[in-house]
């Protein structure tokens, strides 16, 4: 059971010699939603979802725009409540601990559950190095060999060989795809057990998208990944399991292969075959 009341320990593995992901020392954790509801003021956007994201698997969330996918994953690391007037009900169990439980520190929750956003958003005032180090500094993990941790995170995000000799250049000067992997490295540096990705490739070209998808495949050995995507080919390529949402509700969830080839609900079939959405 994760201890959310205290700081999560940082990534500790030694940097390997190439860009392959580091040795698994910290497997991911499962996330289970129980009757999750999310509101913006009086408008109910997520209408009671029960869903499990298995540890060290990639789960894709698909569904038409406005169906509540993003809102749902923003409830998992309690980012939803940052929007004025927004609130959530129900339970989000990280392993066995309810992240909405009383006495749970929202800051510790976010250290255990990282997030990558739709638009790459490196900190504009910081260099490549400082962007990753910021992940550690902002989450009060100053101890240890900062440089080694930054390098490990950049290697983990498959970016090290590309930025090795420009660590002091502005992070915003990288290409879009590199910026997004920089953001992934920044999240990894904090040492999360789960990473939420909210349409991480929607602002990227196909080559950069492919790199992120390969990265997702490598990362799942150390974290649990939940990815929201509008791109059904992407869900088919990266996800072990896929969940289909419609109008704030979960329609069905299952192994990706099954969702795309023989879904049990006709609405899923209509969506994945492009009849609506």
């Amino acid at each position: 059971m994760p201890n959310l009341q205290q700081t999560v320990s940082p990534v500790t593995e030694a940097p390997p010699s190439n860009d392959s992901p580091a040795v698994v020392t910290k497997p991911g954790l499962s996330v289970r939603l129980e009757q999750l509801r999310a509101f913006y003021g009086d408008a109910e956007q997520v209408k009671g979802i029960d869903l499990e994201f298995r540890a060290n698997e990639v789960t894709a969330i698909i569904g038409p725009s406005g169906c509540g996918k993003s809102t749902m994953i923003r409830c998992i690391n309690r980012m939803h409540e940052e929007i004025p007037g927004a609130r959530a009900e129900g339970r989000v169990l990280l392993d066995d601990t309810d992240v909405y439980g009383s006495g749970v520190d929202v800051v510790a929750v976010r250290r255990a559950i990282g997030m990558v956003f739709q638009k790459p958003n490196p900190f504009p005032t910081m260099s490549v190095y400082d962007n990753v180090a910021a992940g550690l500094r902002l989450s009060a993990q100053r101890g240890g060999d900062m440089h080694a941790k930054v390098e490990a995170a950049l290697r983990g995000a498959g970016l090290w060989s590309e930025v090795e000799d420009r660590l002091n250049e502005p992070g915003a000067g990288l290409s879009g795809g590199q910026q997004q992997r920089l953001c992934i490295a920044r999240s990894l540096a904090v040492g999360p057990e789960v990473i939420l990705m909210d349409e991480p490739c929607s602002a990227l070209d196909p080559v950069a998208t492919l790199k992120i998808e390969e990265l997702i495949d490598e990362l799942k050995s150390r974290v649990t990944i939940v990815i929201v995507t509008h791109n059904m080919q992407q869900a088919a390529r990266v996800a072990d399991r896929t969940a289909f949402m419609l109008d704030g509700k979960l329609v069905e969830v299952g192994p990706t292969q099954e969702i795309f080839t023989k879904p049990s609900d006709p609405r899923t079939e209509e969506y994945v075959t492009g009849k609506f959405g």
């Binding site: 980012m79 990282g114 958003n121 005032t125 910021a134 902002l138």
Partner: protein, 298 residues
């Protein structure tokens, strides 16, 4: 594709009529005339400042204090050293008060108050303060700190009056810059597990810094040119003073005193002081532009 000029029917549609040409010429002329009319006083101000002010400038002009010997030889009237230093000292103290407080208010408004009723109330009063004439700030300090305490004029009281004048400018300009910071930046820092205060200090404020400096310098420039808040708070004196609890000279008050003098040399000193003040503010504005050019937001 034809390169021929349109002819016949097309020319009737595409040609510009004489009436439209005439209207266009009149409108352009009117706008140009308005611009020239607006430029006349500006050019005249700069011309008089330079022609009269430069004549008063000399090395001793900046290095000596004004003397009281205004009815004797023009060389004996002294310079404006105490006024320059007094303005610098009082504006520095005023900035040291209003910048931290103003930035604090702006951070609260943007990061915490948002659209609560109290935040709206604060914004309303800040707007009201922006429109308050500068003499009212001087009057307020005079009533509270001089009449109210039965004490005398002092440099720090002038600084307080100036800081009140600067405060709404600082708050509004800092708030505008803070609002420009993309929400995604705050979100990504929060999502890393950063406490809110750290997000503000490590991400929001450094990103906003270049833009905020511009606003601060403009507030400083405005305060440096104010006479009214200083007249009956810091009064004026002749000697250079580094004691902010005593009387203090300043450029605007020196100019105010000098222009009413019957002695030509003293009036010329006012022109010299005015040119000095304008150059100081111009330098500040240039600095503000230089810094804002480095801004990553604008």
């Amino acid at each position: 594709m034809s390169t021929q000029a349109p002819t016949g029917d097309l020319m009737a549609r595409f040609g510009v009529s004489a009436a439209r040409r005439r209207k266009d010429r009149i409108a352009r002329g009117a706008i140009l005339a308005a611009t020239i009319v607006a430029l006349i006083p500006l050019v005249l101000i700069v011309y008089y400042l330079l022609s009269k002010g430069l004549g008063a400038w000399s090395s001793s002009f900046f290095t000596t204090d004004p003397t009281g010997n205004t009815f004797f030889k023009s060389e004996s009237i002294g310079g404006i050293k105490s006024a320059i230093l007094g303005t610098v000292e009082m504006v520095a103290l005023a900035s040291a008060i209003s910048v931290p407080v103003g930035v604090g208010v702006a951070v609260w408004l943007v990061e915490y108050g948002k659209s609560s009723w109290f935040a709206h109330t604060v914004r309303f009063f800040v707007d009201v303060l922006t429109g308050v004439p500068s003499i009212v700030f001087g009057l307020f300090i005079y009533i509270v700190l001089i009449v109210g305490t039965g004490s005398s004029f002092a440099g720090y009281k002038g600084s307080l009056a100036l800081s009140l004048l600067m405060l709404p400018v600082v708050i509004r300009s800092a708030e505008v810059i803070l609002l420009l910071i993309p929400a995604g930046l705050r979100e990504s820092a929060l999502a890393l597990g950063a406490p809110r205060w750290k997000v503000i200090f490590s991400i929001v404020l450094p990103t906003a810094l270049p833009g905020m400096v511009t606003g601060m310098l403009l507030a400083v420039a405005r305060a440096a040119g104010e006479t009214a808040p200083l007249l009956f708070t810091a009064a004026s004196t002749k000697a250079t003073s580094f004691n902010l609890s005593g009387f203090m000279n300043s450029l605007p008050v020196q100019i105010y005193g000098d222009v009413t003098s019957p002695t030509t040399a003293v009036v010329n000193r006012a022109w010299g002081a005015a040119l000095t003040l304008v150059v100081m503010i111009l330098l500040l504005n240039l600095l503000a532009r230089l810094i804002s050019r480095r801004s990553r937001l604008a």
